[in-house]
């Protein structure tokens, strides 16, 4: 079992910071992960909006399009390529998959602006450190990283409605989903106020999970064997996108439809929209 992370603080012995003793954190690591039930998702877009509101993602400029917009949580509609009326489609929310192994974006960043948080397994993007070289975007196979091509813009009134827990990003830097890290701060803060190091799992729920009207998203600690998510990913219908690259993404998907699972395994063959020769 995992030890709870705790600080044993020797009280009143300190004079200044030099003597302050905070205990070394034992090696307890959380591994936050997510699972999306694609059969429950009907593409309502609530997650995308809740995400943008939570994370102070600005609305689009006039010229912004699907390729230059910033959508940490982007829902794709993927058809099964059958003709009407045999057609079917699935909605796939796509966002940072929080790769655990050889995280493509982490290794390439020239100045350590991307890293895996050692305590939570969250792939953190530090926009303040980012110089905007976009190498990480080229590295990400999920295209889940977004560049601020313009200065963020809100109306004056909307500026007063920004979420105080997440800093807006300036132009010229890359941003992406971080499992609503601002909410983890808030949860930890709340726990700390009550003298506890351990957060209540109910206090740390990302905005997309909280807002999903279909309850299609499960979030939790993969390391904690008793959590709902570590049970849920054991289902035989569970899969991950591009798992064959070996990057061990921590976002799982689930569908009872065979064609959806097959689609997820396909490599490059689904190019119906493009003209293929040969």
């Amino acid at each position: 079992m995992h030890n709870l992370r705790s600080w044993n603080v020797e009280n009143n012995t300190s004079k200044g910071l030099e003597n302050l003793i905070m205990e070394t954190i034992s090696e307890k690591k959380s591994q936050y992960g997510m699972m999306i039930d694609l059969d429950r998702c009907n593409g309502c877009g609530a997650c995308a909006v809740a995400c943008a509101v939570e994370n102070n993602v600005p609305p689009a400029y006039q010229q912004t399009n699907t390729r230059t917009g910033i959508t940490w949580m982007r829902v794709f509609e993927i058809p099964n390529d059958e003709q009407f009326p045999q057609s079917d489609s699935v909605f796939v929310p796509m966002f940072c998959q929080q790769c655990e192994n050889e995280t493509p974006c982490v290794t390439v960043c020239p100045q350590n602006a991307v890293e895996i948080d050692p305590l939570t397994g969250i792939v953190g993007q530090i926009p303040q450190r980012c110089l905007g070289c976009r190498y990480c975007m080229a590295a990400c196979p999920y295209h889940a990283r977004y560049f601020n091509w313009r200065d963020p813009k809100w109306t004056d009134g909307m500026k007063l409605q920004l979420n105080p827990d997440v800093a807006p990003r300036m132009r010229g830097v890359v941003e992406k989903c971080n499992f609503c890290h601002g909410r983890l701060h808030t949860a930890r803060q709340k726990a700390a106020a009550n003298g506890s190091e351990k957060i209540d799992p109910n206090d740390y729920v990302p905005a997309c999970v909280e807002s999903c009207p279909n309850k299609a998203i499960i979030f939790g600690d993969l390391e904690d064997g008793s959590s709902e998510i570590s049970q849920a990913i054991k289902s035989k219908n569970t899969f991950r996108f591009l798992s064959r690259l070996g990057t061990e993404p921590k976002v799982y998907f689930n569908s009872g439809r065979a064609w959806v699972r097959e689609m997820a395994e396909q490599a490059l063959t689904r190019t119906k929209k493009e003209e293929i020769y040969g």
């Binding site: 429950r40 009907n42 593409g43 609530a46 909006v49 400029y61 912004t64 982007r74 300036m170």
Partner: protein
Amino acid sequence: MNITRRNILKLIGGSAVGFFLTPLPYKVLDDSSIWTQNWSLTPPLPQGPVSIKYSNCTLCAAGCGVKAKCVNGIPCQLIGIPRHPIDNGALCARGLAGHHLVNHPLRVALPQKFLHKSPDSAMEPISFQTAVNEIASQIQKSNGAIAVFDQQPGRITSEIYFEFLNQLSNGIYATHPSREDATLSTLHEMIDKNNAKLGYDFENTQLIVSFGAPLLDDWGIPGRMRKIFGKRKESGLKLIQIESCQSRTALQSDVWLPIKPDTEYFAALAIANVLIKENLVLLAALRQITDFEKLKHAALQFTPAQYSEITGIDFSIIRQTANKLAQSKSAIVLSGPNPGAGPFNNETEKAIASLNILIGSIGTDGGIVIRDLQKENKNHIARNWNAIQDHSIEVLFIDSVDSGYALPWNLIERKLQPQHTIISLSPYLNEIAAHADYILPSPAPYESLVEVPAHVTSNVNSFSVAVPLFAKPETVIEPENLFKLITQSVGMQLEIPTTEEAVKQKAEKIFSTKRGSVFSYSDGTTKPVSEFLSADDLCKKLFEGAAWSDKPNNSHHPFRFTLNIAAPKNVPKTTNSLVLIPQGWKVAVSSSSISPILSKLFQESELRENAGTISINPETATRYRLRSNDTALLETEEGKMNVRVKLNTSIQPGVILASVGPALNETNFSDATYNDVLSLCTISDHGTWRITQAKVSKI
């Protein structure tokens, strides 16, 4: 000392060495990097205490409970209330960003008068009093009708409109033709007891046959529908969707019957045909129908083969559907308007509604239940939009709230006299307001106290209060105050309670019946009404954020129905030309009713189609030599426009789905461009614009 080149170089050299031994370069580098991380091009975060407030969303009639995280008292985030008894804690995408609407780019800051005669149709600020005087004189000298267009009937504000119009000799109270309770209101007209308030008991039903109702795309109370369908595996609920395109609801349905466009009437008759022929009609139900022969005649007019031919659905599938309907323990057949394309015509609605009677689902658990019995029906001048004579309205007030359904300008225009005055109460310069002569802005959502009655489709009575989350600007006027001013100006008296008083009265009424229970938003507890000490106590709780809901009230009444169904005149001809079907998403059919952040769905991703897009089957595209992302010319009898083409295999060949939605970008916020595709639609005498013959060609 000479000033020589060499000496200057030495001085510079010394300075350079010294320069690097001072903190200057390093500090400037450090500070400039901090500056780039925090420059003023990125707005600063609001500083201040964080608090939680509770209210209800009023963007549509669902009235979902809302928990608002506020900084400095200003809401910065909205989220649903977990375990809410009515909406199950879900907010839709538009509701989640509803707090932005007070700061919407299209917001009208001041009362304005449009100078339509000037070439650029400029606006001019006007004081409320001047505007009221001008409008009052228009009313006094008018020869035609004075009308109020109310898109969300049933509110206290609606009562004010009644009171006002009642005092006029020629007042018209008009409502939007698109109604989510279309089937219920059609049944209501067929029923002999017209004081019954009906509701769908989805919670206990086994089968829903939906004629195009976007049940899973934020229809009714979105959270309620999601909860019911979320538990379908356990409850055994099945959904049969009869719709010509593969909507989000069709995608999630158990069976999708992809019928030919505009043949819902025949599909309903075909089901009735099976029910009658195979003796599946409930005997009890038969006895309740006064004009069964009429229905029988209509339903048996065509042969199965003809029905297959007309609807494009194999008759065996129709037979299966009818059998399922008859065998199901409980079932509901319903229709719903397409948010972009309006309602069905009356005949279709009647045919669909009567199926419920045939299978005996009225007044049974899991069917259509009686939510409440109204005391009495006041002789209001409530009129459906379609019942209004053409060219009769001279002065038209358009209420501030959106119904959430598309409203083509042509629909309004045909009812207006050539000389007319339009007063928009909308807080936004939206597509309809752009046609107004006066804009007298009402408070935006979350700026005023609004009561939230039970939704028209709900099976239980409920009540909650949307308390304001923002301070109301001084330049807006509540409709009740506006109408008080107008009535004073025309020399009438309007005695109406304020919303606050009305809420108190309602609370007293609830308290006196002792029925139901109150769900508190802040702690998620439920407390029976009987445990409240006083009506004030209950009222206070409602203002703090709570929802009262009644127990289901399913008393069975022996009704009699007059169906009054006319037999179809003839088989609709199949034409080779394309049909245009506008398609929208509830509430997001206008630019003003959604937050600019919805650009994430409309503009920055392809989850929802932006205005000016048509979707067609690749087969259709090949026929017209169109490719994905081409610009095409869309032509109908009403006009033409340029559209962007998208290909989608799930669309029926021969159908053009044209998106009705916001044109979500800066410049288009001020143009009313979204209506363009609606202006191409032919508006039928029934007040619908579901089907229009159209042509496309490559540009």
